[in-house]
């Protein structure tokens, strides 16, 4: 199998970007990623774009629309989507382009501009439900997430205070992230006393919608060391989709994430994830999701994720830092871009370039994961230096 390295990364600030079009956001991220490894768009063989929902930007065929801003003009260009899992999948799709042996250098960019969806992007989520059975109920995403959160907390015996620990940790971590929009010093009381949106989901349990883009540059083995001294290798990739009929799934445990993780671990030759993965960026659009995903990624035993968080194992100075970037809860959640941000973070952490966010102990292996579609998709990437 051809090895593929991440050699550059870049991202825009995540915040409402009323002044920029989606194309410009994509351009900004790609330019930063290319600059970081001293390449120009002329060196790039192909471009891969990820973007979750056309409704947010309000553009049909969003891939085509983004193609020139992403640097894909007059180049092989493809767009893919797996809902919220799109970001990490972007990296996998880019990996395919290079690992297949067809290209040497591939730019991967993910962009989402949610603020143009008025009055609130939650309105667009109504259109992810079944046209006949569910849409007439006028649902948004929180309604279904509340069911999952409740089921997960009840199964594992967690309280609102337990899951609030994640919000406190991640929003605290984000204080050091220059692109973050929601860094804050909070206490568990702040979180559980915030407004209830859809029980048991509190306002501070949720990551905020945002605008932004993030990009990485991938290179083949023969070129990676010519571009940089510190390439970060993509060692494992995995993705998995469960049934669309969410009523027939186990809402407490995302088996699809476990399957995706096992696929990636097998490729990376990882037998004991808890020992071999040093740093993780699981998907945390809601605080309970980080805990649930850690368990499904086999990074925590089932029902033990809260204990790890409470003990500080997952803090930035802990044994296994989880979401040292601040995650979606802290940095913001422009859906597909947020998950590429996680790949960027692992890249910077493994290279020791994370600045104030740098975790101690010289981590060698990192994992990024995203979750998406109708709560049915898991995508996992394992990076090693």
């Amino acid at each position: 199998m051809n090895r593929v390295a991440v050699v550059g990364a870049g991202m825009t600030k995540f915040v409402r970007r009323a002044m920029e079009t989606p194309k410009e956001l994509a351009y900004e991220a790609v330019k930063m990623a290319l600059d970081s490894c001293q390449l120009t768009i002329k060196d790039v063989g192909c471009v891969v774009a990820g973007s979750a929902v056309d409704c947010f930007d309000g553009v049909h065929m969003k891939g085509e629309y983004l193609s020139d801003g992403s640097g894909g003009s007059r180049k092989p260009f493809m767009r893919h989507s797996v809902g919220g899992g799109t970001g990490v999948f972007s990296c996998i799709h880019g990996w395919m382009h290079v690992a297949s042996g067809l290209f040497d250098i591939c730019v991967v960019v993910a962009e989402e501009k949610m603020s143009s969806c008025q009055p609130h992007p939650q309105g667009a989520f109504l259109t992810v439900y079944d046209n006949t059975i569910e849409r007439p109920l006028g649902l948004n995403l929180l309604w279904i997430v509340a069911q999952e959160m409740h089921h997960y907390m009840k199964t594992n015996g967690y309280s609102s205070e337990d899951v609030a620990l994640v919000s406190v940790k991640n929003k605290g971590n984000a204080l050091n992230h220059p692109a973050a929009m929601l860094g804050a010093k909070l206490t568990v009381e702040d979180v559980v006393n915030s407004e209830i949106i859809s029980w048991p989901v509190h306002r501070l349990d949720i990551s905020a919608t945002s605008d932004g883009a993030a990009a990485i540059v991938l290179a083949s083995e023969s070129l990676a060391y010519r571009i940089t001294d510190k390439p970060v290798w993509i060692e494992g990739v995995g993705y998995n989709l469960d049934t669309w009929y969410w009523t027939s799934r186990d809402l407490a445990y995302p088996i699809y994430v476990e399957k995706a993780a096992r696929m990636a671990y097998e490729m990376a030759g990882i037998k004991e994830p808890q020992k071999e993965v040093h740093i993780a960026e699981p998907y945390d659009p809601f605080n309970f999701k980080e805990l649930q995903n850690m368990e499904a990624l086999l990074l925590a035993d089932r029902g033990k994720a809260v204990q790890l968080t409470a003990d500080g194992v997952t803090s930035r100075e802990g044994n296994m830092p989880v979401c040292p970037s601040g995650g979606l809860l802290g940095v913001g959640n422009p859906i597909s871009a947020a998950a590429v941000m996680k790949i960027c973070e692992i890249f910077w952490q493994l290279r020791g370039e994370a600045g104030e966010r740098q975790v101690p102990g010289n981590p060698k292996c990192g994992l990024a994961q995203a979750w998406g579609d109708m709560m049915q998709c898991g995508t996992v990437v394992i990076l090693r230096k």
Binding site: T21, V82, G101, L241, M374
Partner: protein, 393 residues
């Protein structure tokens, strides 16, 4: 110009199409939902390849949210493909992009059998022009509130002016493709027409008339791809992928090349390089190329290097591209004859090339064909295209 890595084509693993299945194609399909359509096609593909869902390593689908009427439309795909709790992803592009993604995934060595699915349920769409208009730039172009066919009219004008081909020669393409479709039991829009019918049909955007435009169809196409060793065990007549190429020019109406199809030229150069084809005119025996508008077939022939610039119209009017001509183009009837399948257009093209190379094309079977080319263009208002070259040996 072509960014392919050195040595591609020599070192690349071989991948073949081992199973095909489709449902349709008809202008309406009230008897099935789009999920049932996918189920039907997938079942046929499994049967064709002699496989079960558990034998497939990964699934790739193609679709656009706004054509499905569903945000995150990829979430609906796993169940009816037999892909629940399996690796599945969606390419928001033409089926040929999805096909190429599956091909690349097999080349990486992580998977050895992949399934590709794409579908069209265009009859469910009541405001297709308005949806297409939403693909225009929201700031510069959308406020003009034009029907997007104006782009095709402008482009046709420019193309005819630059290449020297004539309006009548474009009409000849419609006559040929609708005639070819009469022999194709899957085609929904076959007809016996003459030049006058097309020239006198309702004007849409000068010089484009209504019969120059491919009418929409419903249908679904599924392929199963496998790496060489597996393909030889699975199939008596695997159809080998010799080369692939794809390209996007620019979404901007202001900056694109209106006379030529840049993406087609670039994508085909990439595919020819991979397939090590130096003289496409000589080596390609037949081609299924995008003919969403009549002039597009001529333009694409020229940019695929299947003839010289300005020669395509002559070849069409002399009958060289007819079913029994020297270079049969769109023996299936193309999208003009079969119908425009939106994202599945690329799949329709590959489907026909595979059927011809297998010798299963029935009444429209071409004689002694070994190497065929499938090409697609994503339709208005895009400048994205892809090429796949297939052979049966």
């Amino acid at each position: 110009m072509v960014y392919l890595k050195k040595g591609v084509g020599v070192m690349t693993r071989k991948v073949a199409v081992v199973g095909i299945g489709h449902y349709g194609f008809r202008s309406v399909s009230p008897e099935v939902s789009f999920r049932e359509m996918i189920y039907e096609s997938a079942t046929r593909a499994y049967e064709d390849a002699g496989l079960e869902p558990m034998d497939i390593d990964g699934f790739v689908t193609a679709g656009e949210d706004w054509h499905e009427g569903h945000s995150i439309a990829d979430e609906i795909t796993p169940d009816q493909l037999g892909a629940v709790k399996r690796p599945v992803f969606t390419v928001n592009g033409d089926a040929m992009h999805a096909f190429i993604s599956a091909y690349m995934h097999i080349l990486t060595g992580q998977m050895s059998i992949c399934m590709v699915e794409s579908r069209s349920k265009a009859s469910n769409i009541v405001n297709s022009h308005e949806i297409t208009a939403m693909a225009l730039d929201p700031i510069y172009n959308r406020p003009l509130e034009e029907n997007p066919y104006f782009i095709a009219g402008l482009e046709m004008n420019r193309y005819l002016y630059e290449s020297g081909n004539t309006r009548e020669q474009c009409a000849q393409v419609v006559v040929k493709n609708k005639r070819n479709a009469m022999k194709n039991p899957n085609a929904g829009h076959g007809a016996k027409l003459d030049l006058e019918d097309i020239l006198n049909s309702e004007a849409v955007s000068y010089p484009l008339t209504s019969l120059d435009i491919s009418p929409h169809s419903d249908g679904c196409v599924v392929f199963i791809l496998a790496e060489a060793e597996m393909a030889r065990t699975l199939s008596k007549n695997p159809i080998w992928i010799q080369g692939v190429g794809w390209c996007t020019e620019t979404p901007s109406l202001e900056r694109r090349d209106w006379g030529r199809s840049f993406c087609t030229r670039h994508a085909s150069q990439m595919a020819y390089k991979m397939a090590r084809i130096n003289f496409p005119r000589k080596d390609i025996q037949f081609a299924e190329i995008s003919d969403e508008f009549s002039y597009k077939e001529l333009q694409h022939m020229e940019d695929l290097n299947l003839c010289h610039r300005g020669e395509a119209g002559f070849l069409a009017s002399e009958g060289a591209t007819d079913f029994d001509g020297d270079l049969p183009i769109n023996p299936s009837g193309g999208t003009l004859g079969v119908g425009n399948l939106q994202e599945a257009n690329g799949a329709l093209k590959i489907l026909e090339v595979v059927a011809q190379l297998r010798g299963e094309a029935g009444k429209r079977q071409l004689k002694d064909v070994k190497l065929g080319l499938a090409h697609t263009w994503r339709g208005l208002p895009t400048t994205s295209g892809a090429v796949v070259i297939l052979s049966n040996a």
